[in-house]
């Protein structure tokens, strides 16, 4: 009984961690490859969740909403990169922080204009609505398993793309030495656009997938952004592997914290970050020198 409860909490932690990974991987790649700190990344998560809400209302199913939402967030990513982020290459971090801060202000207000300030729920698709009983009193929702599975598949695809393809080779090269890639004559602009848009889409997908599990509410973007920052700091900038492990660690720390130490749960995640920083200021898989 007790260990079944622990098992369920562990699965919740892993599920949250995998979701965080989808968001943090985009952040860490944009840092690592483009040298850009993007505060607006959390907004894309929020936008994804609200798109899921609206498209589900229109089509009747979250699955259709995701099918529609992916191209929508991809286009959003392309547009944001083309009109805003493009001005930030070779600018210092401070300017990047401020410009993307300005974007957040705009996104948040637009969200209020379009969807209003009330929290919304998104229904779980019918085929995934059930629960698997694990004991007489405990059960685990199918949708959460589905969510974890999708995240794992996406993580797997990402790993394969990065390890096996030409695009992945460039991404890896970019993450380890940006100037080198530029010098080699790779079409950096195109590479950046792809990386940024894919990052935006991943964050958007994370928001869509999370919509039925979490409430869809204003400010959800910032909350997840900060946690994703913690993940990236723990994992080391530019490291997908670090983001993966960091995300799982934070996911578990958060869930266990809420169950076993509810008084300090909101601080547990940051305490973990502080501990890791004391031990390794560049994160678990960071590369010493900072290239900005």
């Amino acid at each position: 009984m007790d260990w079944l409860f622990l098992l369920i909490q562990t699965m919740n932690g892993i599920q949250y961690g995998l979701l965080l990974f989808l968001i943090a991987s985009g952040l860490t790649l944009v840092f690592g490859i483009m040298g850009i700190i993007n505060l607006a990344h959390g907004s894309f998560y929020m936008i994804g969740a609200y798109l899921a809400f609206s498209f589900t209302q229109m089509t009747g199913s979250l699955l259709w909403a995701i099918v529609l939402g992916i191209p929508a967030t991809l286009v959003l990513g392309v547009v944001i990169e083309r009109f805003f982020i493009v001005h930030l290459y070779h600018r210092d971090h401070l300017q990047q922080v401020l410009l993307t801060f300005g974007l957040i202000l705009i996104f948040n207000e637009l969200q209020l204009v379009i969807w209003g300030g009330d929290p919304n729920g998104v229904p779980v698709p019918e085929i995934l609505a059930g629960s698997i009983p694990v004991s007489e009193t405990l059960s685990y929702p199918v949708y959460r398993l589905f969510l974890s599975a999708v995240c794992l598949v996406l993580a797997g695809i990402m790993m394969v793309v990065i390890q096996k393809t030409r695009l992945g080779m460039r991404i890896r090269a970019g993450a380890s030495n940006r100037r080198m890639v530029e010098a080699l004559g790779v079409n950096v602009r195109a590479l950046y656009a792809v990386v940024f848009s894919v990052g935006v889409t991943l964050a958007g997908v994370a928001g869509m997938l999370a919509a039925p599990v979490e409430t869809v509410y204003p400010g959800m973007g910032e909350q997840i952004l900060i946690v994703s920052f913690v993940v990236v700091v723990i994992g080391g900038i530019g490291s997908i592997k670090g983001a993966f492990l960091g995300a799982l660690a934070i996911g578990l720390a958060d869930v266990y914290g809420q169950v076993y130490l509810p008084e300090i749960a909101s601080v547990a995640v940051y305490a973990l970050m502080a501990a890791i920083l004391l031990w390794r200021p560049e994160g678990l898989f960071g590369r010493g020198a900072e290239n900005g």
């Binding site: 805003f84 971090h93 922080v97 300005g102 705009i106 948040n108 909101s266 970050m273």
Partner: protein, 328 residues
């Protein structure tokens, strides 16, 4: 090294201070309160400029200290009586200095993007602490019912409940802190942190323990932010978690950039300008229906400042005032 303003700028600043001193004579409550906020946020922005513009520490969690001081003031203020500033202020400053020392000790170990994210994360930690706990009203915030006074025995020297008194305290604080920082930036410590900003690696090779100097600067900046927070909480007699939130930190950075970082007086102008712009954006007569969604305009304004105003208003003024005199 940009330490003291040139004569032209100094004259302009004196004129500005004199003009500010005249505002309460008009007696308009709205203006007194608005300009008080401008000056207090100017102190806050100036304390951030010490870190960003002079030490090379781009902190995105500076509001943590600003808000923390406000919360400490709330916690030590009785509900039905005024707290004596003579001990309340040192208590608030000590609390923020201690918080800055702990957060700084950890975050100064990191650099660049890491530093930005780590300071942000620690500030959010404090944000959630006050947001989620019942200690001080949680997400609703809490009131300071009776504002602090300066009291010797039974003799009340200064009552921050008085709008004009608070106004002049803010003005005097701004002048004193500005002058103090100018002096500090000319001192050995000031030169050393500026050296660290320009070339940290070389400073290490010269034998400076860079970590210590950055940390001390971080604590000074944090404590000054705490002072600004103390005053700010006294304006409305109200504190809320938003005071330590990342938006507040972001706005402070915008003030620094808008005014011109590394100029010290720039952030003072930046605070005035940003609050002025905010008032315009919230005014229906000026922007029409957009007044309800002024954050969109503010976001666009921030982006425009980043893209087009590289050295800020202060940089513009310095250029207008001509080259500064040679200085050692």
């Amino acid at each position: 090294m940009v330490n003291a303003p040139s004569r032209g700028i100094a004259a302009a600043l004196i004129l500005l201070a004199l003009a500010l001193a005249l505002v309460p004579l008009g007696g308009d409550k709205y203006w007194i309160k608005l300009v008080t906020r401008m000056m207090v946020l100017g102190i806050f922005a100036m304390s951030l400029d010490l870190l960003v513009g002079y030490t090379g520490l781009v902190s995105f969690g500076h509001a943590a200290f600003f808000g923390l001081a406000g919360y400490v003031l709330h916690l030590i203020s009785p509900d039905d009586a005024a707290v004596n500033m003579l001990w309340a202020l040192p208590a608030c400053l000590a609390a923020t200095a201690a918080a800055a020392a702990v957060i700084g000790a950890l975050s100064v170990r990191t650099r660049g993007i890491y530093f930005i994210m780590v300071t942000l994360a620690f500030a959010q930690m404090l944000f959630y602490f006050f947001h989620d706990s019942d200690l001080a009203g949680g997400s609703d915030g809490a009131f300071i019912y009776v504002k602090p006074v300066v009291q010797l025995g039974d003799w009340v020297l200064l009552d921050l409940g008085g709008r004009t008194a608070l106004y002049y305290l803010a003005l005097a604080s701004q002048v004193v802190i500005y002058a103090g920082l100018v002096v500090m930036l000319r001192s050995p410590f000031g030169k050393v942190i500026q050296g660290i900003k320009i070339n940290e690696h070389r400073m290490r090779a010269l034998g400076y323990n860079v970590y210590v100097y950055k940390l001390v600067s971080f604590v000074i900046g944090g404590t000054l932010a705490g002072y600004a927070g103390f005053l700010f909480a006294s304006i409305d007699g109200f504190v809320s978690p938003e005071l330590l939130g990342w938006q507040e930190s972001g706005i402070a950075l915008v003030m620094v950039i808008l005014g011109g970082m590394g100029t010290l007086f720039g952030p003072l102008i930046g605070a005035i300008a940003l609050l002025g712009v905010e008032e315009l954006f919230r005014d229906r007569a000026v922007v029409g229906v957009m007044a309800e969604h002024w954050q969109i305009l503010m976001g666009g304004f921030v982006i425009a400042v980043v893209l087009f105003l590289n050295n800020g208003l202060g940089g513009l003024l310095v250029r207008l005032a001509g080259r500064r005199e040679g200085e050692r």
